[in-house]
Symmetry: D2
Subunit: 325 residues, 4 copies
C-alpha cells in the first residue's frame, strides 16, 4: 500500500450550523486539505440538532431534507478518480451527555414505508432519550410509561462517511451507495480504516450522523443518535481503484455492500470480499468463493435506508497460506 | 414454561441408509417416543453418503432429490398442533475424520440459479475435502492446485432440524420455513434448545445435514458437510404455540426467519423477536421495537436455499428491568 | 409436436365435496385416464364452498388449509418424468350465478403478511358478492355502503392447474411453482393449451380455484372467485421435458415464472421465453435475448401467493424468419 | 382540475450537443418558459449520438456518464414545490431512419450486474441496427449472422421525462424515481398527459432517451433507441401535489411506481392507484382496494435500471358510479 506524500497536521474544524451539508456531492468544499491531514472536528446529530428535549416531535421541529447533516466536505489535494481515500478514524466521542432515538412515520423495517407502500396507518412517532453514562460505558433509557429501563453498551461510530458520487450526482445524506454515504455501519469506528474510491477531483469527503450505539438492522429507523467529537486522518492512495467501501483493522477485512433487495446488497459485499481475498492471497476464483463461504461473518447492517447495507468480514489470520513442500 | 410429564430415556437409534428420509412431512415415523426422551443417534451427510473420496462429482454420484437425508422422523406421543417441541441438543460430533464442501451447478449466492435465472453458463462444479483435526479443533483443506491451504475452526451444528409442516404439505429437505427444516443455522448446536411449533399430531421431528463449520451466507451453497453423532432430548410444551423457530441458551434469545427476498426473512425474525421481548418483559410494542432496534445482532444465515434465513439475537441480560421507585 | 397415442373420451367426473384435495402431490388419484381423454367436470370455489351468502366471514366459516379445493388428481396412463402434459382447455363457465371476492387478514399485496411481517394491525376482513350477468357478460357488485357499484368483464379462468411436484413434495394449493399449481394466470382459459412437465409417474394433474375475473396483481388476495363447469382434454407428449409452465394458442407463446422477489419470477419466465424462441427459430442466445427484449409483453400475474407469478408473452407472427437471398 | 393561466406558444428549441444534460437536478435551466408553452424540439439518442454505424462498440465510443442526454431543463415560471406539471405530449417522431439496440456488460435483466453481483464473466457486448420503415410502421433488423430478420411495430415514446428531485439531489439520467426520470414507460407517448410533482422552484423539467419501440421488461437493457422530434406542452397545476408520476388519456388512469425489489415498485403504483380511484369516486379504502384488484392491468415496465418500474392502469369507464335509487 503506497501512501501518497503528505504530512499529518492537526486541523480543528468546528463547523457552524449554517455550514452543514445535506448531500454527498453538489456542494462546495468547506476546506482544502493535504493528504495525511488529521482532522479534529465535531458532527451534529441526525436530527440537525433540532431535537433537544423530551416532548419534541422530530418531524415537527426538523426541517425537511435536513437529516444527517455533514461536516465537510473536504477537498483532498491531488485526489482524482481512480485513487482511493484511506480514512483512519482515531477518536469518536459523544459530544453531549444524551443520545436520541425515534421512529419516523413511513420509515423503518417493520412498518409501511414510501416503497414497501401499504395501506396501513402509520405507527405512532415516538422518541426515546438516552443518558450517556461514561463511567459504566452504557446508554440508559426508559419505556414510554416510565416503568421499565434498559441499557445499551456505548459503541460510537459514524453513520455517514462518504465522498461525492460519480457522474455529477448529488445524493441525500440518507443514502448509502458505492461512494459510502449513510452506510450506518458500526465498523466505521475508532481504530478502523475506511477505504473509499475517489469519484471526483478532490474526493469531497464528508461525515456525520454519529451513532452512540445501534443494533443490527437499525429496524426502527434510527440508532441512538448523538453529536460527536471526531478525530480522523485522511490519506490518499494514488492509482488504486476502490469500487465499494472497504474497512480494515489489524484483525479483519470488511466489505460493505449496498442495494435492494437485501440479497443484492449481500451479493455486492460477498463478491467484493472474494476479490479482496484473491488480491491478498492469489487464490483462484473458485477457491476464494469456497474460502469466503466457510469463513465470512455477515451481519445485516440496516434495512431502512433507500439502499440496504450488509457487512462481510473475514479474519486476516484465517487467510490461506502457502503449503510447505 | 410448563414441561409436559415424561422421563428421560437414552435411546440409540442408528438408522440404516434405506430408512433415511428426504422430506419433512409425507413419511411414516421411524419411531415413537415419549416426551423427554434422549435420542442418541447419527446423521448421514448432505451428500447422502455418496461422495467418499476426492475426484467424485456430487451431481454424478448422488441420486436426484437425495439431499440432506434425515434421521427420523420421530412421533412424539401427545404432541398436537398448538404445542411446542423443546429440543435440547446435548452433543454433536463429527462421525468421520473428514468433511466435504462443494459448489453445485445452478446453486449458490454468487451464480445464476433456478430462480435468479440468468443466461450465463454454470460455474464449474468443484469439491474440497477437509481434514478434521480434533486436537487443534479445526478443519483443514487445500486449494484446487494444492498450493495453498486454510483452516476453519470446527463448529458443528445440524443444518436440518424440523417437524412436519401444516396443511398436508411435504417439503424437500433443502427448504427451511416456519416448521424449521433446512435452516442451516449455526445456533442449532450443542448447548442450545430449539423450539418448534407442532403442526401435525406427533410432530414428526427429524434432523440431519450435519455442518462441521459454515460461514454466514453459505454462499457457495454448502458448509463443510459431514456425518454427525448426535445426542438430543425432545421435550414437549403443551398449549404453547410457536409460529417461527426459536432458539435459546443461558445468554441469548434467538429467532429464525425464512423467506425471500432476504429482507422478508429478516422482518419475520425481527417481528418474532419484538413479540418475544414483549412476552418476557411486558414492554409495549413501540418500546419493544426500539429495544430490539438498539440491541439485536442479526447475521445472515444463508442466501442459497429456496427460502433464505436470518437469525435475530438479543442478549438476555440486556432485557429491560423494572425501574426502582 | 408428437402427440402420444390415445383417444378422446368424454368423461364426466363431478367430484363429491369429500373427494376434493388441498395439495398438489401427496394424495391418491381420483381417477386414471388415457392420454387424450376429455374431462367434463366441475370445480368448487376457493372458499371450499363455505361462503354462500353476504355476512359470512370466510376465515370463520372455512376450515384452515381448505383453500382452493382441487378436482382430481388424474393419473395419466403412461406419463413419466421427462414427459409433458398438454392440457387443452375447451370450456370454462361459471357454475353459479354469483362470484365472491374478499380480503383475508395477513394476505394481500398492500398489507402486512406472514412474510412482509410488519407491526401494523390487520386491515378489516371484507367480502364482496358479485352478480354474474351472462347477458351483458359482466360481473356486478356494490361498495360496502351500497352507494356505489361497478362492473368487471366476465373472463373465466382456472386459478389452479398443476401436477404433483418432484422429490416427494406435496404443496399447498395456494402455492404456484414449476409444477404449475396456483398460478392464478388469466391465460389458463378456454381456447388455450397449458404445458406442464411431468414430475411423477401418472403426472397426477388436478385443477380448481375458478376465477370469474381478476386484475393483474390480484392485490387484495382474491379474484372474483366462483365454482366452474370445466371441459378440458389432457394429452401426453412423450420425451419432452418442460421445466416451467408454458401456455400457447394460435397467436401467442407464453411462459409462466414463479418465485420471490418478483424480479426472480420475471427472470424465470423471460429466460424460458428466450429458450422457447430459440427452439422455434434457431436464433443464437444473444439474438433471442434481443428479440424477446423488444417483443415481450410481461404482465404481473399476482403478488400475493407464497411465490409471485409473472407471465411473459411473445406474438408468434413476430418470430424471426429467414432472410431471403 | 384547475389549469394555471398561460398561453400556448410554439417555441423551437433544438439543443446543441454541448447543451445536453446528464442529470435530473444539479444543472442550470436551458430556458425559462411560461406555463402552457408548447415546446418543439429534438432529443439525442441514449448513446449520446456516439454510435452511428454498425461495428462500433457503445462502451468504447461513448463517454462514461453520458447516457440518456436530456433536452432542457426548462424552468417553468411560477412552478413551486406542491404544484404539478401536466405535460401533454403531442408528437413524437423518429428523427433518423434507424434505431439502435445493444447489450451492455453488467447491465440487463438476465445477466450479472453491479448489484445482482455474481462471479460470471460478462455476456458479449452486442449491437443491433434497426431500419425505420415509416410506410409499414415497423422497425426491422437482422440476427448477428445475418440469416434471420424480425420486425417490431414502431411505437415511439420518451424513455426519460423528469423534474429536478427534492432535497438538493441530482440524479443520473439512468435513474427513475418519484420525480419521473428514466421511467422507460411506453405510455410516455403522443396523446398522453404525464403529471409530475414539482420538487424545486421552476420544476426544471427535461426529457430525452427516445425509444422507437420496447418490450415489457427491457430485459437486454435497451429499447430500440433513437433520436426523436418532440412536441409537447407544459402546463402547470397550482396547489396540487403529485407524489408519484401519473399518466392519463381519454381512456386510462395510469400510475408509475419505481423501486427495488420489483414488488415494491408494484406496491407504490398500486397504492397510488387506490388513492387515485378514491379521489375520482369517493370510494372507501377497502372498496378501492377491491376495485383496483379486479380491474388493474399491471405490465412490468423495466427490470434493468437502478430502480425498477411498474405501470398500473385502470380503465376510466370501469370506475364505480352511483347506485340509482
Amino acid at each position: 500500500m503506497k501512501i501518497a506524500a503528505g504530512f499529518v497536521l492537526g486541523m480543528a474544524v468546528i463547523p457552524r450550523h449554517g455550514d452543514l451539508k445535506y448531500t454527498f456531492g453538489g456542494v462546495a468544499p468547506a476546506a482544502r486539505i493535504q493528504p495525511g491531514t488529521r482532522i479534529v472536528t465535531w458532527t451534529e446529530d441526525c436530527y440537525d440538532g433540532a431535537v433537544t428535549k423530551p416532548g419534541q416531535i422530530p418531524s415537527k421541529v426538523q426541517l425537511p431534507g435536513h437529516d444527517n447533516p455533514q461536516t465537510g466536505p473536504f477537498y483532498v489535494e491531488g485526489a482524482e478518480p481512480g485513487d482511493t481515500l484511506a480514512i483512519h478514524i482515531e477518536k469518536l466521542e459523544p459530544a453531549r451527555d444524551y443520545g436520541i432515538s425515534s421512529s419516523f412515520p413511513g420509515f423503518g423495517a417493520l412498518n409501511s414505508t414510501d416503497r414497501t407502500a401499504l395501506l396501513h396507518a402509520d405507527l405512532p412517532e415516538t422518541v426515546w432519550f438516552y443518558r450517556v453514562d461514561r463511567e459504566k460505558n452504557v446508554l440508559r433509557t426508559r419505556s414510554q410509561d416510565g416503568k421499565r429501563s434498559w441499557e445499551v453498551p456505548l459503541a460510537p461510530f459514524l453513520g455517514c462517511l462518504g465522498v461525492a458520487p460519480a457522474g455529477g450526482e448529488a445524493r441525500s445524506t440518507i443514502v448509502p451507495d458505492d461512494f459510502g454515504g449513510n452506510m450506518d455501519c458500526p465498523e466505521v469506528r475508532a481504530g478502523n480504516t475506511v477505504y473509499l474510491g475517489v469519484r471526483v477531483p478532490g474526493a469531497l469527503v464528508s461525515f456525520g450522523d454519529g451513532h452512540l450505539a445501534m443494533g443490527d438492522g437499525e429496524i426502527i429507523g434510527t440508532a441512538v443518535e448523538g453529536a460527536m467529537n471526531v478525530e480522523l486522518t485522511v490519506d490518499l492512495i494514488k492509482h488504486r481503484e476502490t469500487r465499494w467501501p472497504r474497512i480494515e483493522n489489524g484483525e479483519w477485512l470488511m466489505s460493505v455492500g449496498a442495494g435492494r433487495p437485501l440479497e443484492d446488497a449481500a451479493r455486492v459485499a460477498f463478491k467484493d470480499m472474494v476479490a479482496w481475498v484473491r488480491e491478498k492471497t492469489g487464490l483462484s476464483e473458485m477457491d476464494a468463493y469456497e474460502f469466503v463461504s466457510q469463513n465470512a461473518r455477515a451481519p445485516i447492517i440496516q434495512i431502512v435506508d433507500p439502499n440496504y447495507t450488509v457487512l462481510v468480514k473475514v479474519e486476516k489470520r484465517r487467510l490461506p497460506s502457502g503449503v510447505s513442500p
